[in-house]
Symmetry: C2
Subunit: 333 residues, 2 copies
């Protein structure tokens, strides 16, 4: 397997990205193509003793920033690490692509350069929420407005992902809504509820409220990208706040520090469970080849986990399964 | 001051409601009118030694259930504790109304029976999020779809509430969105951003992402009721899950139980801060008299806090200030 990596994008690029690839190369059997400024990559590797001899490097001299318009990836900036990486993937120079860069640009670039699976109307960003057991939320930000058609396809793609990657036999699909009754939500949710109810390819369990998300209500949660983005960020924000509050408590005095020692193992485990760096990246479901969005603030460990996820996504044949299922959908709209 | 209380609605009605009124009557200077089944109220008071001699009782024999259609409050069920209570408020038989019942019915009843403040297009449910410092989120569920006009009025009403009730001089207003840039969101948010930017009556600080909500990004957060409902419930859900995880940790073995003793005070404080029963109820901002929605699962303490909030809401003249400000809006649309 050949993994193409954008090492120039992300808050901590390129240092943490290069380090992440080095870590990943010890854990997975794959070749790596690093896309980015060759001079910088070699300098950082030299300065930090990263062994990058086995990696291919494709030189690019531009970077998509977080402020860039998503369309700049195919218009104003033709030679970015993200854009060139996606082109390499589209040209079958690799099997998967990982980037921690601008989400909108990655989504737009993946859709326009790598292209969607035939029959899929919109790709979606699928994020694993830090819950036990995990919940796959999609769309988590790419499509601010959606139709019931998109939501039905999100449900099907998410089910295949959770079945193949997490080994869940009949993933339970929920529709994120402001109440459990079928009549709840805006006209979109009311229509989508009926569509999901009638869909034979999924195991629809009905509407899921925000309060039920952490309590094993479903395995796949579908919604528009606007609501999804706000939900996932709110959940991460509250988790972060509560962990920081606990840290404060355990550092407040000597007794508290002693207390922390007594439960340190369990506390580390809890922190681990809610640590977004542990969960790898988010696959862009519906794109015809594996594209993984790593968190913008990824450190080396998070980036390594995103690479591992790319391998797993590729190996389990999720895209093949989605393509088989989507043959029934007819041509793209 | 005369407070009208619906003692028949809520998961734990009427027992916890009657007990809550008894607790409140010791803390606030007010008369109470209990609306509900007189026989049941007297029996429960007798059986539990609740002293209800100083309270007026208005007998009703029907209850709006959680499953009832919101419009049933003015149509099918004419003699419910909630509907009669709202009528008493509309007829000036009291100064404020508190209910833990069906949110949709309370909102519909308040709008149709008590009526909105002149110039206000839609009332909103305003919920205080369990953050330090507190954040007022509106609309938290009544209007699943809104316009930029509504959002502007929500921003003005929320600012007045936080100024009067929480003593914040220039409350910072944020627009809940999927990114901080002005171009983010659906067409609604893009328009609303401009409107809020131009609004002279508020201190608009721009778009606020879900991840920023717990970190003091604003005092008032406006959004449509669909997104608001999912956001508040997600936040409550994750808080609940993490507190229960901590409880598990501290109960896991003897060492852990010892650990908990060492930080018990701080843990109780943290639990208190995220405990929805501590935060009273949600005012229906835009209604011409104080109507407070208590949490459906309220116990006596939560209901007492909702009653205290009704008193505070009345005393601080929020409604008068909103009415003054809304004179500029012209007649209701």
């Amino acid at each position: 397997m050949e993994i193409i990596v954008d090492v120039m994008s992300g808050d901590n690029a390129p240092f943490e990205m290069i380090k992440g690839v080095c870590l990943a190369s010890k854990e997975v059997t794959a070749n790596f193509t690093l896309v980015g400024n060759e001079g910088k990559i070699r300098r950082i590797a030299n300065e930090n003793g990263f062994d990058i001899r086995r990696f291919d490097i494709v030189h690019t001299d531009e970077v998509i920033t977080m402020e860039d318009d998503p369309l700049s990836i195919v218009r104003a900036k033709k030679n970015t690490s993200m854009g060139v990486g996606l082109k390499l993937l589209a040209e079958d120079k690799g099997d998967a692509f990982v980037s921690a860069g601008n989400t909108g640009a990655l989504f737009t670039g993946a859709t326009l350069i790598v292209r969607k699976i035939r029959g899929i109307q919109r790709a979606a960003i699928a994020s694993v929420l830090p819950m036990q057991p995990p919940v796959l939320l999609l769309d988590s930000g790419a499509n601010v407005t959606v139709t019931e058609d998109y939501l039905e396809q999100f449900a099907i793609m998410g089910s295949i992902y959770m079945k193949k990657v997490y080994g869940i036999d009949m993933p339970r699909v929920g529709l994120l809504n402001n109440g459990t009754e079928a009549c709840k939500g805006t006209p979109l949710q009311i229509e989508a509820y009926k569509r999901l109810m009638d869909c034979q390819s999924i195991n629809f369990v009905g509407n899921v409220e925000g309060s039920a998300i952490p309590f094993d209500a479903c395995d796949v949660l579908v919604c528009d990208g606007f609501t999804g983005n706000i939900t996932i960020k709110s959940i991460e924000g509250v988790g972060k706040m509560m962990l920081s509050r606990m840290k404060q408590i355990f550092n407040s005095n000597t007794r508290a520090r002693l207390s922390a020692i007594l439960v340190s193992e369990q506390l580390m485990e809890m922190k681990h469970d809610y640590d977004s760096t542990e969960h790898g990246g988010a696959p862009l479901l519906g794109i015809s080849k594996p594209v993984i969005k790593a968190h913008g603030s990824s450190n080396a460990k998070a980036f390594k986990n995103a690479i591992r996820q790319a391998v797993h996504y590729y190996d389990t044949g999720v895209i093949y399964e989605i393509a088989k299922e989507s043959e029934a959908f007819g041509p793209n709209k």
